[in-house]
Symmetry: C2
Subunit: 388 residues, 2 copies
C-alpha cells in the first residue's frame, strides 16, 4: 500500500465545444502535466475514463489513440468504463497501480464528447446503462427513474417542489463564478419550479446537461513527489471505495437511498480511517436535483430525510458547514459523462490547494470528498483527499 | 507489492453460441468460482474485459449488469477496454488491485458476443480500433494491415507462403484436441495455402474467426490462499507488463516488429526477474498467422527472422522446446475479442497445474507466458505465471 498523491490537475471548459475528443483529452492533460512539472517525464501508464466514445464519436480504442497523441508511447494505456462514473473508476485504477508499488507516475483522463450526435441518439446511448429487461423496454429513461425517486422522497419526507429547487439554484449560483462551467448564469426558485416539466415532478432545471469536456490528473508515488520537489502541491489520496447495487431500481431495498454509495463510502472511509464529520468540502453527483440530497444522506453528511434542511440553512454553500458542489456540480459545471469524476477530483484538488475560482474558495479545507454515480445509482466511486 | 495468485479459472466453449453475453460471463465465472472454492465468498471487485458490448449486443454498463447477475453486489465492478487485449487489461487491473494490498479477492471476466451482428457490421465495429485519419478512411482493415506486415516479413526474411501455412496447421492440430475450441478440426498446408485469399497473401485460414465466448479467473492474495487451503492450485503471477506503440502502422519504426510487445515484455520480465529462456509454455496472439512469428521474435523466444525455423523444427509443438498456443490459439480456439486474454491465462493456468486437455499437456512446465494484442499491434499486455 504505497501512498498515492495527486500532483497536478487540468480541465477544459465544459459545454458544447468544437474540439474533438482527442483534442479535449490533450488540452486537459497538458494542463495537468504542466501543473505537475511532468511534461518531460515518461509516464508508466495512462488511464482513460470514457463512457462510450465508440458511439458518441465513432472512435474505438481511445486509450492508445490518446497515448500516441500525447507523446506518451510506450506507456501502458487502458480505458475504463463504468457508465457515468467512468472517470472516477479510471482514477481508482490509476490509484491502485501506484498503491501496488508497480508504477510511479500515471496520467488519468476523463473525457466525453456528447454533442456530435443529436439529443435523441444521445439519450438512447445513455439509456443502455439501465436494465433492458426491467426498465428501458418499458420506455424508462434515467430522468424517469430520477423522477420516481423524487416522488418517493417527497412522499416519505415531505419535500416540496420549491424546496427541491434550492438545489439547482445553489448549483447555478456557484457555477456562475466558475469560468469552466457549462452554464455560468444564476437562476431562481421560481424559474426552476416553473420550468418545462421533463418527467414529473422534475423540470428542465433539475436535470444536468449533456456536455463535451475533459479533465485530467497526474498521480504520483512519494518517490516522484520527492524527486520533483512538489510536496507543497501533493494532495494525498486518503481512500477510494467502489460499490454496486442491483442493476434495476425495482430490485433495490430502497428508492431513496443508494446502497452502492453506502458500500463505496464505507470502504473509502475505512481506508482513510476518518468519518463523514471530517469532510470539509465535497463534490457529489447531482445529475438530477434529488440526487444531491440522497447522496448527502447516504454519505452520512446529513440525517436521513433532512439534507434539505442543511440546504435551506446554507450549510452546503461555499461558506457553510459542509460546502457541496462549490464549482456548480453536474447541473451547472456540466456533465460530459466520462469527464465528470475526474473534474470532481480536479475541483477538490484546487480547493485543497486554495486555488478555487474567485468567490468559490472554501476557507482552508483540509479534507475533501468526491462521489460519482455510474448507471442509474448502481456503480459508485467515492474518493477522499487531504491537503499536502 | 503483495503477491498475487490465480486460484481458479473457467471458460465457456468458444464459437457461435446461443447464450447471451451475460449468460456467457455467468457460466465462465461460476466455473472459476467453483474451481477456486469461492462460491460462498464476498468478492472485493469484479473486473470485466470486453471490447464493445454497446455495439455488439446493445448492452451498456456491463460490469454492474454482471455483478448483479452473479450475486456479487455490492462488490465494486469495472469494465476495462483496450481493444482485443481488453481481457488481459482487465486481468492487469485486477492484479494491481490485489498487489496494492487494498483487495484480497477479485473476479476477472473476459467476454465478447460477436455473432449478434452480421459480419459486415462486426468488421466496421472492429475497424474502429485503427487510425481513422491514417488507415480506415482509405479502406484499410485489420486483415489488410496484417497482409502488409506479412508481405514485408516475406520480403525481409524470405518467408514463403507454404512456410507460413505451418502456423495455422499447428493451431488446428492443437485445437482439434481442445473441446472448448471454436474449430476442432485439423487442416493441411495445402488447404491453408490454397484457401480463398482474404487480403493477399493471407488466406481465410490465416485469419482467426470472430467468436462468442467468455473466460474467467479468480485472483487472490496470499491470505485468501492460506484461508482456503488452496496453495496447491495457486498459480503465482510473476509479472505483468503493458506497452503501447504509435496508433497508425505507418508511424512505427518497423512493420515486422511491434514495439508495444517489446515494452510490455521488458516490463513483465523485469518484474518477474526472469528472461525469455525461462519460459516453458506460452499463449501468443495469432489473430493472423504472421503475428505468431512476429510475437515470438519480439518476446525474445526466437531470433529475428527465424521464428519459422522453430515452427519447422517442431520446437513450438506441445512436445517441443517452447510450446506455443497449445490449445489452438486465436486461430483455432477462437477470438471473442475481450475474452481472448483471459482465455490465454486460463489455458496457461491449466498447463501449469497439469490440467490441460488430453494430448495437449506440456511436460511439467514451470513458467508460462501470455501475450495479447490490442488495436492493430499497438496495445500489448504480457503476463508471466509460475507453478504453485
Amino acid at each position: 500500500m504505497e501512498p498515492v498523491n495527486v500532483i497536478g490537475a487540468g480541465m477544459t471548459p465544459f459545454g458544447i465545444l468544437d474540439d474533438s475528443i482527442v483534442q479535449l483529452a490533450e488540452k486537459a492533460s497538458f494542463k495537468a502535466m504542466s501543473d505537475s512539472q511532468t511534461l518531460d517525464l515518461q509516464f508508466d501508464h495512462i488511464v482513460v475514463g470514457s463512457q462510450n466514445p465508440d458511439e458518441f464519436v465513432n472512435k474505438g480504442h481511445l486509450s492508445t489513440l490518446i497515448a500516441d497523441r500525447l507523446g506518451l508511447v510506450p506507456a501502458g494505456a487502458t480505458r475504463v468504463e463504468t457508465g457515468p462514473s467512468s472517470g472516477s473508476s479510471a482514477f481508482e485504477t490509476a490509484f491502485t497501480m501506484i498503491a501496488s508499488g508497480h508504477s510511479d507516475l500515471i496520467l488519468v483522463i476523463g473525457v466525453e464528447k456528447m454533442s456530435e450526435v443529436d439529443r435523441g441518439t444521445a439519450s438512447k446511448i445513455l439509456a443502455k446503462m439501465m436494465s433492458y429487461e426491467n426498465e428501458t423496454r418499458y420506455g424508462a429513461t434515467p430522468t424517469a427513474l430520477a423522477a420516481m425517486v423524487t416522488r418517493r422522497y417527497m412522499h416519505d419526507y415531505g419535500l416540496t417542489r420549491d424546496d427541491l429547487s434550492l438545489v439547482p439554484v445553489k448549483a447555478h449560483r456557484n457555477g456562475a463564478k466558475n469560468t469552466l462551467a457549462h452554464f455560468q448564469k444564476e437562476t431562481t426558485v421560481e424559474k426552476v419550479s416553473n420550468a418545462r416539466v421533463v418527467a414529473d415532478p422534475l423540470t428542465l432545471f433539475d436535470c444536468c446537461p449533456t456536455s463535451d469536456g475533459a479533465a485530467s490528473l497526474v498521480l504520483a508515488s512519494d518517490r516522484i513527489v520527492r524527486d520533483l520537489g512538489v510536496s507543497d502541491q501533493a494532495v494525498r489520496v486518503l481512500g477510494v471505495g467502489h460499490g454496486t447495487d442491483y442493476h434495476a431500481v425495482q430490485h433495490r431495498l430502497s428508492m431513496t437511498s443508494f446502497g452502492a454509495t453506502i458500500a463505496a463510502a464505507d470502504r473509502a472511509f475505512s481506508i482513510a480511517k476518518i468519518g463523514p464529520a471530517d469532510i470539509d468540502v465535497c463534490e457529489l453527483h447531482d445529475a438530477f436535483s434529488i440526487l444531491e440530497l440522497v447522496n448527502m444522506e447516504d454519505l452520512g453528511l446529513a440525517e436521513r430525510g433532512h439534507a434539505i434542511d442543511m440546504v435551506k440553512e446554507g450549510a452546503t454553500e461555499v461558506d457553510g458547514q459542509i460546502p457541496v458542489n462549490t464549482t456548480g456540480g453536474l447541473k451547472s459545471r456540466g456533465h460530459p459523462t466520462g469527464g465528470t469524476g475526474v473534474a470532481q477530483i480536479h475541483d477538490i484538488y484546487c480547493q485543497l490547494l486554495q486555488k478555487a475560482p474567485k468567490g468559490l474558495q472554501v476557507e482552508a479545507p483540509k479534507i475533501g470528498l468526491t462521489q460519482n454515480i455510474g448507471g442509474f445509482g448502481n456503480n459508485m466511486v467515492v474518493g477522499i483527499f487531504s491537503t499536502p
